[in-house]
Amino acid sequence: MHPASSVILFTTSSGAGYALLVLLAIFSALGWLPNDRALGLVGLGSALGLITVGLLSSTFHLGHPERAWRALSQWRSSWLSREGVLAVLTYLPAGLFAIGWVVVGDNGGIWALAGLVAAALALATVYCTGMIYASLKTVPAWHNPLTVPGYLAVALASGGLWFTAIAALLGAARVEYAALTIMLVGLAALIKSRYWNAIENLPPKTDIAAATGLSDIGPVRLLDGPTTSETYIMREMGYKVARRHVMKLRRIAIVAGFGLPALALLIVMVRETPDGASLALSLAAAVAGSIGIIAERWLFFAEAKHISTLYFGTESV
């Protein structure tokens, strides 16, 4: 599948934003986070900023962005519509939570409850994002029980990394945050490596003979495509990425996305001193993690083969 940069930016940015919102809400409800207005402003500002940038970027790839509101209508059948509805709904309790924390100066009680509602909606939104892909039978790599857990775990890992960095920046760091984030990063690494393993060993779902129904005659191969230049289907679905690039990008995703951030936060935990060095390590972990996760998301699209490419010479999918 063609890896469109708007969709990569959308899924990574909003994923991180929703997960950041989830962690801010949970730790406020637990009473671990001070009701410091600056922390609320930077934390929730970053979360809602990442979400909004992501949602706006998702409209960039639309042919008619001005009609985007229409995507809220078909939640009965469409995961994309459900994602849109939940994304918009999340703003309401998240906004209340932000008013409580930043304006009223209280992130507990009723305001924390609004935060927890926002957190539940945020997780549901990321779940829907994953289901958009997991529900497509036409892309066997995505139609896989690890796709949705992968989206949730990677979002939580990136949200954890940014949460730890913001807490360190505003003097609210706790050793538990780094520990939890290391666990979230480890979980994401585990699920993604299982995902890559699964798609590597995926038996072909169908082939050119089944797609044409000509298997009774014998082996089938494409002699001539329908056109001399590439059609829409070939441009959109027929993206090919060289094997050596896949392996290189997987290494980038593992090292920058999961390995380096976990190592940096481990050092932060061991040092136990919330000084400039720990802050720098926390920020570096968040930046490296984001780069790695963008590589992971690019691969998610670029590696996935679409069944319709069978009509254009792909032998099996």
């Binding site: 009609r67 039978k137 797609a211 082996p219 590439e230 069944i307 009509y311």
Partner: protein, 265 residues
């Protein structure tokens, strides 16, 4: 509404494509483009239409555009049994079309009255998800209009009372010079197309995906290789010989040889 129609009629309009006699002339695709350039989903936009470039990857290179019907050429079998099979590909108007249910806006829909799958270009947001959900590569995005387009089964021809009744068939069917394309109601077991499917063993493409395509393909007939397969005699009669003629020729040759020898002295 992108939920599938609950009280759909039993009518399932669709095409039956005969792979035995398709000659791969692309006339169906060209006439489809011609009719639909002024039809329900017009225009059928082209980009770099006069470019000689055949390079790919990128909107700026090569001539390309929106077509609802594409003709591929496959080879099936190997060695001397290999045969070329021309394979026209267009929307199959599935009974369970995932391209419809994934649509977030309700622009993509399946008509309850005849099963035709259409796009309402006035509300399509151009997210392309329907084209991702289609296993058959039937939908093509118009990047100038910013909306998805697809085969309409010539909904603007088949019910068009301004046309002669004989012309109220999809453009691809009306133009096929080999009569390889047939149009009708595949939901009616007594229709001409259903009988054709029955008698020729018509099949669905990738039925295991459960989209239940309505269109059917008729498989190529078994190859006729022996002389008897064509309906003629299994072998030719041995050629007749006439001994008297040969004797006469022998005498003539001797005479010619004598004349030749006499004149050469």
């Amino acid at each position: 509404m992108t939920s599938l129609p609950q009280n759909a009629s039993t009518k399932k309009l669709g095409l039956v494509i005969d792979l035995d006699i398709c000659v791969g002339c692309h006339a169906c695709a060209v006439n489809c483009k011609e009719w639909n350039s002024g039809g329900h989903s017009a225009p059928m936009t082209d980009w770099n239409a006069y470019s000689g470039e055949q390079t790919t990857n990128g909107d700026d290179d090569g001539a390309w555009g929106v077509w609802f019907n594409r003709v591929h050429a496959f080879e099936a079998g190997s060695g001397e049994d290999a045969r070329t099979i021309y394979f026209p590909r267009s929307c199959l108007h599935c009974e369970e079309p995932a391209c419809v249910t994934v649509c977030p806006t309700g622009a993509s829909y399946k008509r309850a009255e005849d099963g035709i799958v259409l796009v309402n270009a006035d509300i399509c947001i151009g997210c392309k998800l329907c084209s991702w959900a289609c296993a058959y590569g039937a939908r093509e995005y118009d990047q100038t209009d910013g909306v998805m387009k697809k085969c309409t089964l010539c909904v603007d021809r088949i019910y068009n009372e301004n046309l002669e009744e004989v012309d109220r068939v999809p453009a691809c069917v009306s133009t096929c010079p080999a009569t390889a394309r047939h149009f009708g109601d595949l939901g009616d077991p007594n229709s001409e197309v259903s009988k054709l499917v029955e008698s020729r063993g018509g099949y669905q493409l990738m039925p295991e995906l459960d989209y239940k395509p309505v269109n059917r393909y008729l498989p190529p007939r078994p190859r006729r290789k022996g002389i008897g397969d064509t309906g003629g005699a299994a072998a030719l009669e041995p050629a007749k010989t006439n001994d008297n003629d040969q004797a006469a020729d022998g005498l003539g040759n001797k005479l010619l040889a004598w004349v030749d020898a006499a004149l050469s002295r």
